[in-house]
Symmetry: C2
């Protein structure tokens, strides 16, 4: 073989190799935008046991999660943007009295409802969040408006409401969020807070503790749970996340939990994953839970499942932080770990397989 | 050499090895708690050029940063907790009219001041944050009270103020934060917003944009900068971070920036670093800046300098996010990268070397 033939063969080989690499990459790209879609939903984590839920209650939760999944999935199959799917599913959960978001939101100490929500998309890292809304029916809509119609990421309180109404959302009376079940929870929580503060005064002669750790021991009402969230992979290969909540029963002093905090309760980045959290919000803020799961995928090379499990079942559990997350990556892998007894959750994967679960199984 | 002698020698070797390892670890621990202390401070980043600052202005900023450094450093040398050093330094900066925090805070669209702050310690990952305060003189004190006297991490608005006052902070009139310089900035910002909205209406016939991107092009007033922050390594080997701000000139609708968002404007974890940020807050929230610097150290094994530089000068810069951070790790290494023309900043390292800087140098 002479040198020139050798060079020709070498060149031909290089061209073939480049063609192969280029085809593979194009395949990979095709796969990402081929229309594979997936969705996961949570409706809160906490001390949910078979003993506590009647068959009827269990059935109601399963049906609601199932319906929300279908509403979101329909949008995704239709090729709609992931945020449309998130919005459709969360609006349904906000309107359901079963969950601590929208109608059915827990009561503040003063007997009202203050709602928080956030949304984020993984392709552009755009995000929107609202906190302490009292008269916007669907906070997830307000969060999306902040993202899409303002230069800001987070708006709060009366200003956020003015913004929402200027952008077309109807002002509603705070009373529409009332439910008898949550009102009973408030009465019990206030009774416990009162007893705790009286006992603190009697024992210590100190000033009344302005926020009590006591009601953190309440397992009966799951006062800090019931947040709803949705993560999706849409037909364009984008992943997104959204979260909505009424916060914590008997909350005072304008307390803000993790749900409207980008990085804590919600995060989305196509380079890693999209996450929505539910649980004891203070821990989720301090441990930067949603973004930390993404960071462990991106920087440690962990799988979605490994990253989510490590944060929920090791880091948070060791710290005493109760809760769970739903998470999805750009390939449509789904993880739904929680360190409590149960988490209302469900998913439809890229193969179309649906699961709706409540307890550990 | 018989077997038993061999075993004895082997055992002796093992014991010596264990003793060596144990000593090394103990040394490492001693080093961490040997009293080495360090502090870094920022007073905002932006379009700060030699042409824009008079000699007197430059001198005033240098003196203020120097004084804040000394106040914090004195606490650290005294063996006080890092949070005491942060509080002392930030109170001084909040009380100075030079910075966009406390007195000298920028005006909201409505002509008032709404202040945000947060604080976090790296040993326990405890954190406290307040947003939208209007009548608390030193927001950093309120943030620390939330951390130490409540079960919550973040309180907002009137509730946060009631909490602050119940815990001993004096209620002040919002007017005490007024300064003529910031009022002029507001007037200019509102004029620009008005022109922008009029022009949008004339050109498009569309609804008035409720928040305008126009004032993002303002370089004259540095409307979005001037936030103050402090990070420290204390004599116990703990690192902590704190941030305080008046937010963005002419902000509306209860806008919340990155300063009170744990993970965005402030983060501290002894396993990696403590960070306080200043800049265009929306980007710092979306890119989870403070916690991301820590995550890159923890998970990628980057040095503090590498991690902070990558996030500020690559990730944020590519995204168009202006600003900078100060950061410190548990060994007392300090990094102060920024991608703007200047950042008011200073540090005293573990050797006692002090630097006070404004421009790139």
């Amino acid at each position: 073989m002479n040198l020139s033939l050798k060079n020709s063969l070498y060149t031909a080989f290089l061209i073939a190799l480049l063609a192969f690499i280029s085809t593979s990459q194009s395949d990979a790209h095709e796969h990402a935008s081929s229309g594979s879609v997936a969705i996961a939903i949570h409706g809160g984590a906490g001390t949910i046991t078979r003993a506590q839920l009647s068959d009827e209650q269990e059935e109601a939760y399963r049906k609601a999660i199932d319906k929300a999944l279908e509403l979101g999935y329909e949008k995704l199959k239709n090729g709609d943007d992931g945020l449309d799917a998130i919005e459709a599913a969360i609006i349904y959960l906000e309107d359901s009295p079963l969950f601590n978001a929208g109608v059915g939101a827990v009561y503040t100490f003063d007997g009202t409802h203050e709602l928080d929500a956030s949304i984020m998309r993984g392709d552009t890292l755009e995000a929107g969040a609202v906190s302490s809304l009292t008269n916007v029916k669907n906070p997830i809509k307000a969060a999306r408006l902040v993202m899409e119609k303002s230069v800001h990421v987070m708006l709060s309180g009366e200003g956020a409401q003015r913004f929402s109404q200027q952008n077309g959302l109807t002002r509603v009376d705070n009373g529409i969020f009332n439910t008898p079940r949550r009102y009973e929870s408030l009465k019990r929580a206030k009774q416990r807070i009162k007893e705790s503060e009286e006992s603190a005064n009697a024992n210590e002669g100190l000033e009344t503790p302005v926020t009590s750790d006591l009601y953190a021991t309440n397992t009966q009402d799951d006062y800090k749970f019931g947040t709803v969230g949705v993560v999706v992979l849409d037909a364009n290969g984008n992943i997104s996340a959204g979260t909505s909540t009424g916060g914590m029963t008997a909350k005072r002093y304008g307390r803000v939990g993790d749900s409207p905090i980008i990085g804590a309760g919600t995060y989305a980045d196509n380079a890693s994953c999209a996450v929505s959290a539910t649980g004891h919000g203070e821990y989720f803020i301090r441990y930067n839970v949603a973004a930390d799961i993404c960071a462990r995928m991106k920087y440690q090379g962990l799988s979605l499942k490994e990253a989510a499990d490590t944060v929920i079942n090791q880091v948070l559990k060791n710290a005493g932080g109760d809760g769970g997350v739903i998470a999805i990556d750009a390939k449509g892998n789904i993880a739904m770990p929680f360190n409590t007894e149960g988490m209302y959750r469900g998913s439809i994967d890229t193969q179309g397989n649906k699961t709706v679960l409540i307890y550990k199984e």
